[in-house]
């Protein structure tokens, strides 16, 4: 599986669940892998095959722009990752199980966005970036 395969699978799951999604969503020169919006709620997803530390940093930087920010990894029972790091950074962690379900390993706190950000993200979150 490549990162693109994983991203494609995550997109399908989110769309199936009624989220409007866009990829490579720009914040300046930064690109967010997936942005999903539904009912005024906007989430970001950084998709990684292995480098969860890098993913957690990217998701941390996404923090101010979305209600919740996640890193998505393929399920791997042998991987040893530091879930406390995700909690400390207030970043969520999802694992894609072999049966195609997204499992919430760490659920991040929900942030309220400023009205200006809410409007902006709401307007563009469902549009292709």
């Amino acid at each position: 599986m490549t990162e693109l395969d994983l991203q494609s699978t995550v997109l399908s799951i989110l769309e199936r669940d009624g989220w409007a999604v866009s990829t490579q969503w720009r914040i300046g020169s930064k690109r967010v892998d997936i942005v999903a919006s539904r009912g005024g709620e906007v989430h970001s997803y950084e998709v990684k095959l292995r480098d969860w530390r890098r993913g957690s940093k990217q998701a941390f930087l996404n923090g101010p722009y979305f209600n919740r920010c996640y890193v998505v990894l393929p399920s791997n029972v042998r991987r040893r990752l530091d879930s406390d790091l995700f909690r400390e950074l207030e970043v969520g962690l999802l694992e894609l199980a072999e049966n195609g379900a997204l499992i919430h390993v760490v659920e991040p706190p929900r942030r309220d966005l400023t009205p200006a950000m809410s409007t902006l993200i709401g307007q563009s979150g469902s549009a292709k970036a």
Binding site: I27, G28, S29, K30, F60, L61, L85
Partner: protein, 424 residues
Amino acid sequence: MITNSVRLGVFRDRPVFEAAEFGEIIVPAHIAAYAGDGLWGFLQGFAAEQSRRDRLFRYDPMTYLLYIPRRYWLRESAQDDQSDDDPVSPSDLKPALKAMLEAYELLEPAVLRSLTAARQEFVSNGAARCLRFQRRGSEAATSGTIAKYARLLGRSVDGVLAPSRLVAPYTAIEPWSGQGLVDQIALNTGTLDERQAGEAVWAVLALTGNMRPLSPADLDRLQLRSFDGVALWAGGMDEYSASSVTLRGYRQLISGLGMPVWLMFGGYFSLLLADDGAVDVSHGIYYTESKLVRGAVGGGPAPDRYYIPRLHRFYDPARAFAILRLLPEYECSCVECGDVETLESQLVAASRDTALRIAWTQRLQRHFLAARAQEVRAASSSERAALLQDLRTTVREIGSVPATRRSSAGLSDTHLQSWIEALE
């Protein structure tokens, strides 16, 4: 007392220049040669907006370009398989470089013969031509130009604008036993021979890496003490990544010159070197706080970045705003910056609208120049000990941020630690 000067990149930056507070504009000679009328209009607008016509600008002769591989002079499509000794077609040259070669009367040897022939011609006659080019100043070519810019600027404009000083032609010196040194000695001799009474002329010392202090013999050979000052370009010296040892060597190089030094590329650390002899520090309105001597002339728009004044450095905007969330007391209070939440929403808006992006970029540039002006004022009015104490305070404040968040935001005090060690 130290000042900063800002390198001209493109004329469309005029609104940013006009709103800023700084010493002089540094005009690269190839831009002046290629777009003389555009430069004239740019400088007239700046002069009117800033209500000054003296000490407005000086040239960077850009003659080091004669010493980089000639393929870098050519349009990208013509760069393949070109050696320095093959004749090239003038139409293959980058237009601004071609204009500069014409201005220095080097186009014929440079394109019909070889780079070596052009260098020989340059060393023999380049000083006189280079100074003549600068002495002409900036003038409108025709009455049509005057009318055009009067219309564009909405005011009457006229007259020649003269550079504040002349700058000697230069090449990169290194190794100290190499041809570059021989050529630079000849260029300095030629420049001093051509100097007219009352003219302020500065030499340039461009180094490619080795920053050993000059010996008295070096100073004599280059006749540096016969000039009014020295412009120093330590090629590739990046004060944000250099070690404290390198930075200390840089200080020794500057103080060893024993005369006024203009640091051609620098940032905040360079502003702290007034006690070592630095009198002026140049940089771009956004980038160019360091530059390689032997490198291609770059092109294309650079990514946006935000300057955090307390950290004295640029960051990618999203990263910068994450840092400001960790250290809210570092938010900037200049007229360009709102609070971090406002900056974040404007970043998102600018990321999806071209017109907003241009305005956003100019705003980040104006913010940087305002921050730099504040740094210049602080560096000019405060003792170095007090400025060092400020840096130590910043290091302590960075240390108070939890390590995981610091690391995730890319917040580091390494450059500040190096500066402190180099200056203590």
